[in-house]
Symmetry: C2
Subunit: 199 residues, 2 copies
């Protein structure tokens, strides 16, 4: 059986390795790349190399950044007394999109998961403890995901930090806006009920 | 609003431009690329540049190839008296997968579509006419897609070639194997009925 030319096969194969890109999509993308101008194809290739080269983790908060410490950590206009703890850099972007929180962040790069062998030492937690020592931080908002791992991580951090007198809070669970009570699962509904507030 | 670091934003943006890759998938792929080793990221970037540089169109059949003429056109063990006309290089791969056809190909790179302003001069058709002149080709199998454009292209080519005495055939339409009569559309069923053969 004759297949694609070797270089095209290689391109399809490389794209097929990426998450969420199956063989059909890898083919489609590869054919599209062949139809691009030389300049456009170079832009794509260079963006991969450039991102890989220039993006590092912030040594303070663990977020992705091109300069260390990152823009958020060095921004004096942000509140320095509250840190929001999230699982991944994507969560920082999600929080920033809300335009409400103007404190600092700490990115864990994961969550504690005994099932998958991820313990407290495997996530970016030690640097948080060091960061809090002698700092002016008054509140730690734990915004890990409402999954088993995220909850376990939140509990662990709360237990660890509370003795130091810093207020530890957890973001609320409940029915999402635009959601439907009828289709809410029991746990979410229970959490929504538990978290009810006087109106 | 703070966004991703510039180089990461650029990477996401470049992937988002590709067909079938929306913003969420572009993000997911970009984060995955950051987690790759330097070597792996280079492999991906180089495969793009290499494919773009080395893959050309065969000057005889129009298929994608790294050397000109392509492997199929220069393969003497294949039948030289039958040419299968397809719309795209992907169709050549599909046909080769069947392992039944061992003639030559001609890739049109499109189909005639007056609605989209694609005329006979906009597809790789002129080179087919030149190729047939004084050749030993006995049969032209038209394997364009069974769409309005593919059918129009088939009709156009048939009309153009038939006077020269070359046999022009069209691949069959019908119920696909494993398909279900109940869910077949009327046109497919009509074609299947028209194309019935004695058993």
């Amino acid at each position: 059986m004759r297949q694609y030319p070797r270089a095209l096969g290689r391109l399809i194969n490389e794209f097929n390795k990426l998450p969420g890109i199956g063989e059909k999509l890898a083919q489609r993308v590869s054919f599209h790349i062949l139809s691009l101008s030389d300049k456009e194809a170079e832009n794509l290739a260079n963006s991969i190399l450039e991102a890989k080269q220039s993006i590092k983790y912030c040594s303070v908060c663990g977020n992705l950044t091109e300069k260390d410490p990152c823009d958020i950590c060095t921004d004096d206009s942000r509140r320095q007394d509250v840190i929001c703890v999230v699982e991944s850099p994507k969560d920082v972007v999600a929080m920033e999109r809300v335009k409400e929180f103007d404190g600092l962040y700490h990115v864990l790069h994961g969550a504690i998961s005994p099932m998958q062998g991820v313990g407290p030492d495997d996530i970016n937690l030690k640097s948080l403890i060091i960061r809090l020592q002698g700092s002016s931080v008054q509140e730690l908002i734990i915004a890990t995901n409402p999954t088993i791992e995220g909850e376990a991580t939140a509990m662990y951090i709360a237990k660890l930090i509370k003795p130091s007198g810093i207020k530890v809070t957890r973001i609320a669970n409940g029915i999402p806006i635009g959601g439907d009570l009828e289709y809410a699962d029991e746990v979410t509904l229970l959490k929504a009920l538990e978290g009810r507030r006087e109106i």
